[in-house]
């Protein structure tokens, strides 16, 4: 028994979640025959079910154009989740009865009317109280039409009992995001719209807010007086894999920077909200994004580097370059790497550079925020490394979630030499429990009508507006922002290092 206890999950933690309560409802997934449904959404719902966080009056209605029946949909999901089901077949046997399917083409008004009728029958059958969450897991070109169809059928008329979740990307640029927002906002109220950014579902991203605003020690030094620069990194080791078709039209800037990295920047740099309230938090995020700009808007090539991975790896396991990937144009100029320098023009951050980078096929998979503090004004001691190392607070988003604080201590011995050490906090060591997958948290929040971790229209627009000079440059004169090749599984092009070297800095090599 004791050996089991030492290695297994905390037995006193099992089944103990004190979560907010999800009200009875029906979750309607459009695009239910697609990948996301069986890879992320249904597994996340099953996890919520296993954790007893779904009410018994609950149903999932899958919708897509394929003429499936409830039984076929259930079979497909059972096949796709076979490995998870093995862990808890009893729970699946109960859960699968909550899955339903209705063939629906959102562009066909008759289909949407039929959908409304089916939802009423599900309300009767499952007592779901007319409370519905619509999840648009469809191609972005159907977002506007899908919302319109739901609104025209009267399915969004009750703002308290209907909501729409929209996957990324929300628009392709500032203009298209504005246009989409206009359409969506004619279909329902802003508090019914949940624009998903799965990075915000990560425990450690949310922890940035807790770290900053639940402690008194950080906020007084969280500003230009004490912080000299901030680095935000989201590095992947994988290449484009089977997403070439989508990636060729988006690139790293649209795929990662405009949404995930910008959200991390907003949470790191925002002012404290007056209260823990979705609107108060989103107001502060929108404000800080509206104050953010490229370090050189007139000549963006001075503050932005694009890169594209080339071949790499070893003789034994060679890695192909981006242009050699299936589905990629051999002359593609799509960037798989972006590094840039931003400033935030407000009282807190004026003059502090924010360096942001993301890329595929980099040396290590990691996401982190690094705050580098100013040096001590006078160096009293010799430093083992020649000069004192600046204090750094490193917030590790993934993997090995946690935080570390780097500061100088006396090096053992008779002299008075200083050297840096790291003070560590690790989620694993402190909690020993894997945190939920982002979709588990975000789906639950959407069904709870809690928009805190979803992006509001003005946030999305501010993020797109921030990168407009770059997008226009890439569109109009791409030669001014060339894609620098870099070897697969390295830290990106040398030009990105040069971007920081000009400021006398280095990218952190974690």
């Amino acid at each position: 028994m004791s050996a089991m206890l030492a290695t297994a999950t905390n037995p006193l933690r099992v089944g103990l979640r004190q979560e907010r309560v999800i009200a009875p409802q029906c979750l309607v997934i459009f695009g239910a025959s697609g990948d996301l449904t069986h890879r992320k959404l249904v597994p996340a719902l099953f996890e919520l079910f296993r954790q007893r966080r779904l009410p018994s009056e609950f149903a999932v209605l899958g919708c897509a154009r394929r003429p499936w029946s409830d039984e076929v949909f259930r079979e497909k999901m059972s096949e796709a989740l076979a490995r998870r089901i093995e862990e808890d077949p009893q729970a699946w046997a109960q859960f699968v009865g909550k899955l339903f399917y209705e063939p629906v083409d959102l562009q066909q008004p008759d289909d949407v009317v039929r959908l409304g009728e089916r939802l009423e029958r599900i309300d009767e059958q499952c007592a779901t109280h007319g409370n519905r969450t619509f999840y648009l897991s469809v191609s972005p070109k159907f977002y506007a039409g899908g919302c319109r169809a739901l609104a025209d059928a009267g399915l969004l008329k009750d703002p308290k009992r209907s909501r729409v979740v929209i996957e990324k990307p929300f628009g392709r640029d500032y203009g298209s995001a504005q246009a989409l927002n206009r359409v969506v906002q004619t279909c329902g109220q802003e508090n019914q719209i949940f624009r998903i950014d799965h990075y915000l579902g990560k425990e450690t991203v949310q922890n940035i807010m807790v770290l900053r605003f639940a402690n008194t020690i950080f906020e007084p030094i969280w500003n230009r007086n004490y912080i000299s620069s901030v680095q935000i990194t989201a590095a992947e080791t994988v290449g484009v894999e089977e997403r070439a078709g989508y990636y060729e039209t988006s690139g790293a800037l649209r795929d990662m920077v405009q949404n995930h990295l910008t959200q991390m920047l907003a949470i790191t740099a925002m002012e404290p909200p007056g209260r823990f309230d979705p609107e108060a938090i989103r107001n502060e995020k929108a404000k800080v994004l509206q104050a953010t700009r490229l370090a050189d808007e007139l000549e963006p090539w001075n503050c932005c580097i694009r890169g594209q991975y080339g071949p790499g790896g070893s003789n034994d396991s060679p890695l192909s370059g981006y242009r050699q990937e299936p589905g990629v144009d051999p002359n593609s100029t799509t960037e798989t790497y972006v590094a840039m320098k931003l400033f935030i023009d407000n009282w807190r951050w004026q003059g502090v550079p924010f360096y942001v980078r993301t890329g595929k096929r980099l040396a290590k998979r990691l996401s982190e925020v690094v705050l580098t503090f100013r040096e001590a004004p006078v160096h009293l001691f010799d430093a083992a490394a020649g000069g004192p190392t600046a204090n750094q607070l490193i917030l590790r988003i993934q993997p090995d979630e946690g935080a570390e604080f780097r500061f100088e201590v006396k090096s053992p011995g008779s002299g008075m030499r200083s050297r840096p050490i790291d003070m560590e906090f690790s989620y694993d060591d402190s909690f020993g429990e894997p945190s939920d997958e982002g979709y588990v948290r975000l789906l639950a929040d959407a069904m709870l009508s809690d928009p805190t971790l979803f992006t509001r229209s003005d946030e999305v627009e501010a993020a797109w507006r921030l990168y407009t000079p770059l997008l226009e440059l890439i569109e109009d004169s791409p030669w001014q922002l060339p894609v620098h090749p870099y070897e697969s599984r390295t830290w990106g092009p040398a030009a990105a290092d040069a971007l920081l070297a000009r400021d006398g800095l280095l990218w952190r090599r974690p």
Partner: protein, 428 residues
């Protein structure tokens, strides 16, 4: 937020006319005037409010009778405990006070708004039907049946109005029993029905049996009633497969969370396999909550109950761990100056872990409402000490019930389902 009243004055009808009246109220022809009938759930509440009725009758509390656990009611009850010269540890809403107050003179009339006075936490859930059984002090009181349509008004405005209705059956206990016949048609099978027994589990067991059969979901408070009756009822209902929710169990959540938090760091988990001693202190003379906590710990750690015996306010038991070693358990009632509204609330917990090799560990959890000096004494100098303060929950029963209704589970929480039978066995 203040409680919401029904918009219309309830209509008094003959009991036999109630089902037909409500059917007509929600008929499609009438829906324009009454809004849409909420397709949510029905809640049937046994609402005796004995203490409130007695204190209002004797002029110690102003009316009307609402059935809500207000601050004024609790304060008046505490004063009544002092005036009645009851022991200072007597919980304010206890049977002892109700019995004493029943002997006091007084005949102050008061309006009885039980069932019409709806807590906002409940109204926010838009119940389709709230049925209140309101027994009166006067056992000869004839049955009165009141009906009203009810449309909760969202405080922020907006939204489609989804209306419900309230039905109140008021009268002496026998009169109420006569009125039960109308309940069945008022609880449609297509909607989940919950029964909240908001009174002592000792009173009217036959009525409870009649009201709370499966598939109705039962809400009780195992702190109200004799411990034996509370734990046995919990056990039998859980074992019958009914969905049972216990407000006393719900109030344990901070204790469970705090204890789990102590053992979250993986390096501390080893100690869980070496617990040799578990002690629990509870308020007053009601061990149900303490036993539920002990049962939860024992169940989670795979202990088998070997024996249990009691001596006055102390229960001593022995468990066997998975490795065959013995765990000694003691539960003790300790006097409190200002007892909680809920009898037998947790005061402290001590776990002592003695690994075969390495230093022992002592974990102490103390309620923030009082000290746990008894548990802090007793020669633990050689143990590694982890001590935590457990915050006291300040939610009203209505808020806890709303939380349960909002969650809408049709099965018993598996942790409670495992702990309840063991807790019943722990009580000698």
């Amino acid at each position: 937020m203040s409680p919401q009243l029904t918009l219309q004055t309830p209509l008094e009808l003959a009991p036999a006319d109630v089902p037909t009246y409500l059917e007509q109220l929600w008929s499609p022809e009438q829906q324009g005037s009454t809004g849409t009938g909420a397709n949510t759930f029905c809640l049937l509440v046994w609402q005796p409010a004995w203490a409130e009725q007695q204190l209002i009758r004797t002029g110690r509390l102003n009316g009307p009778i609402t059935g809500q656990q207000s601050d004024q009611l609790v304060a008046a009850c505490r004063q009544a405990v002092v005036d009645a010269d009851l022991p200072s540890g007597t919980p304010p809403l206890s049977e002892a006070l109700i019995r004493t107050a029943a002997g006091w003179d007084g005949d102050n009339p008061s309006e009885d708004l039980r069932g019409q006075y709806i807590d906002p936490a409940l109204s926010a859930l838009q119940p389709r039907r709230l049925i209140t059984l309101a027994p009166t002090i006067d056992p000869e009181h004839k049955l009165e049946t009141l009906v009203a349509a009810y449309c909760p008004l969202p405080e922020e405005g907006g939204g489609t109005t989804a209306c419900g209705d309230v039905v109140v059956l008021r009268g002496g206990r026998n009169a109420l029993k006569d009125g039960l016949a109308i309940l069945q048609p008022l609880l449609p099978e297509r909607m989940p029905a919950w029964v909240w027994w908001n009174g002592s589990l000792d009173e009217a067991p036959d009525l409870l049996e009649q009201l709370a059969g499966t598939p109705r979901r039962l809400i009780i408070d195992s702190a109200v009633g004799t411990p034996r009756q509370c734990l046995d009822l919990l056990r039998t209902r859980v074992q019958s497969g009914q969905a049972v929710n216990d407000l006393n169990w719900l109030r344990l959540s901070n204790w469970q969370e705090t204890l789990a938090m102590v053992f979250d760091p993986p390096q501390r988990r080893e100690a869980l396999g070496h617990i040799t001693q578990m002690e629990i202190d509870v308020e007053s003379h009601h061990p149900a909550q303490g036993l539920l906590l002990a049962a939860w710990i024992a169940d989670r750690l795979g202990w088998e109950l070997i024996s249990s015996e009691s001596d006055d306010d102390v229960i001593n038991a022995r468990f066997q761990r998975g490795d065959g070693e013995t765990v000694r358990f003691q539960l003790m009632s300790v006097p409190m100056g200002q007892p909680s509204v809920h009898p037998g609330q947790m005061v402290g917990l001590r776990l002592i872990c003695q690994p075969d090799d390495g230093r022992g560990v002592c974990v102490i959890l103390c309620a923030e409402s009082g000290g746990c000096m008894r548990l802090e004494s007793g020669g633990m100098a050689d143990l590694e000490l982890h001590e935590e303060i457990v915050p006291v929950q300040s939610r009203t029963p209505e808020m806890d019930v709303a939380r349960l209704l909002g969650g809408g589970h049709d099965t018993t929480n598996p942790l409670l389902a495992s702990a309840a039978p063991l807790a019943a066995r722990l009580l000698p």
